[in-house]
Symmetry: C2
Subunit: 335 residues, 2 copies
DNA sequence: ATGAAAGCGCTAACAT
DNA sequence: ATGTTAGCGCTTTCAT
């Protein structure tokens, strides 16, 4: 690999001059600039980013931490982020984490080791926010699906509350009163907000909540299946179920089929997210669409904004609107 | 951020000693080691990776280039890779690419700028392999779904040929003779191999191929829909279709439904990949299962092997076996 | 066992 | 407009 010295020598100039042309400094005569550029091309030279970073304290890379789980959700968000930051010559280093401790460890190591200029954190179950706030003091961060505020952060969150409220209300409009809810992973921000929305819709309709109609899952299909089985085993089972995400809703549909319950006639089932499978299940799933890819793009734009120095003007919180997608599983005839 | 100097000063030793304890050098007295470690903890010191890298020429990071497309396939592979390399303290920097030029540009910049120690390349449509071979000379690389050989590479590929052969033969066993094929993106390695497998199965059964039964897609559902429509419009349309991936097969099923063709009675349809949606479509899709996550893990292990210096003993090529998954869309009764 | 010092490839004063 | 030089934070001889 050719270094700046090689270029300087071959071009007959000092390394400072070479550095200047690399960085497009105006204080280089057109003539020398051309000579240097030529040599750079000849030698196939590219500045060593590591060395550059050591000096400038900028790495031009953004750290990404996300939960280690097969998930259309996160995959698309990441894709969105990469797409936008890459255009601004930023690189992305990615880490997955199994649990919260893991998350924090990775987080800290990325931070302290000077590897990244900013981070986007998808830690939906984070709880120790005081520690986090302290660690991230003055570091550019965007939180996805977690509502935390640090000195230089913004939170990008889905409008879980209203989405959940809408879809639950839709169930109520179908005449249901005994509406079950399947929770996602414990402490998960999205799940909690969706639960709040569910509760709010019930309250609006004057339906009192019942613990009997709530079951716990962890966002997987299997957990949705189990949770639904539990719900169905009640003496007076719910006539409708709202699962905190589509995967669990699909599991619940399986459970209904297993018990020879017709969906939506015997039991209506709805979900949240609108993953690609949802339109194919039988019956097609009524759900709430989250524009995941767009969320990623927004996140990317925001972190870039933070890094560009205009920190003062960045939003603290962005709520992404969602949309009710009515299909068959709720009892509607036409999709 | 505390630096090695701060630690040295506070511990009353030289920076060399601190460096030694960081790197677990045995030539430090136990006593000093403890003192230094203590100060490190107090100061919350972590070695600056950038500076370390400048000196050692190792970045402990692996570059990943993958096609920018929503894809369960790539998302899972990436997840597999990250999982294994992270355990060995490697970081992953990810780039997506829209087209081949894009790919090569990113590739080169990652390489030359000294940002990564090795790379994994998912470039299924790469064609300019001479250039690639030259650029990657002596650089540790693993190719995924591309059969290229450079001086320090290994190719990890799916057993597309046999998978395609099996699923096509299965169709033949059902009595089909007019079997259509929907190609994936032009120049795509997987698609081409699957086509070869299809051809081989036909040949084995003494069925001559016909251009009339081939249509071109690009791996998307929409393209599968269009391709199938084209196929169905033949005067004597195929009685079975093998699409080069599941998404296109699903699109083909939609097309059949649109024309009121019963699947599998009027036309059998099979795919490749076994994406999660495939078991939910109506009828459930017969396909070939690719153990995507495991592919990722294998890729991770291989690149680590390359980086650990035991380059000589690394396999040049690894073929991942696949498995026929029989469901309903082929005409079988029980799944 | 420990320290001094050179240097990795680059940027950014400062000097000319 | 160009060159000299001092670091950035670390590792690694080479002394001691």
């Amino acid at each position: 690999m050719a270094t700046i010295k090689d270029v300087a020598k071959k071009a007959g100039v000092s390394i400072a001059t070479v550095s200047r042309v690399i960085n497009n400094s105006p204080k280089v005569s057109e003539k020398t600039r051309q000579r240097v550029l030529e040599v750079i091309r000849e030698l196939n030279f590219m500045p060593n980013i590591i060395a550059q970073g050591l000096q400038t304290k900028r790495t031009n890379t953004i750290g990404l931490i996300f939960p280690d789980a097969t998930s259309y959700y996160f995959a698309e968000i990441i894709r969105g982020i990469i797409g936008v930051v890459q255009k601004q010559k930023y690189h992305v280093v990615i880490s997955s984490s199994h649990d919260e401790n893991d998350e924090l460890r990775t987080l800290i190591s990325m931070l302290q080791s000077g590897r990244v200029d900013g981070m986007v954190l998808m830690m939906p179950t984070i709880t120790d926010s005081k520690f986090l706030k302290h660690t991230l003091k003055n570091f550019p961060v965007v939180f996805v699906c977690t509502n935390i505020k640090t000195s230089r952060s913004t939170s990008v969150i889905i409008d879980n509350f209203n989405g959940a409220k809408k879809v639950t209300s839709h169930l109520i409009e179908h005449g249901h009163r005994r509406i079950g809810f399947i929770h996602g992973s414990p402490n998960n921000f999205d799940s909690r907000e969706r639960y709040r929305g569910y509760l709010s819709a019930l309250a609006n309709a004057g339906i009192s909540k019942s613990e009997l109609y709530e079951a716990r899952g962890n966002f997987t299909e299997q957990s949705g299946f189990n949770a639904a089985m539990e719900l169905f085993s009640q003496p007076s089972p719910p006539t409708a179920i709202f699962a905190a995400n589509d995967s669990m809703a699909i599991g619940a549909i399986e459970a209904a089929k297993r018990l020879s319950l017709n969906v939506p006639n015997d039991v209506a089932i709805v979900g949240f997210d609108d993953i690609s499978t949802s339109r194919y299940v039988e019956p097609a799933l009524t759900t709430v669409r989250v524009p995941v890819f767009e969320v990623g793009e927004i996140v990317g734009k925001i972190i870039l904004k933070h890094l560009s120095g205009e920190g003062g003007s960045v939003e603290e919180k962005i709520v992404i609107p969602v949309e009710l997608v009515v299909r068959k599983s709720c009892g509607c005839k036409e999709s």
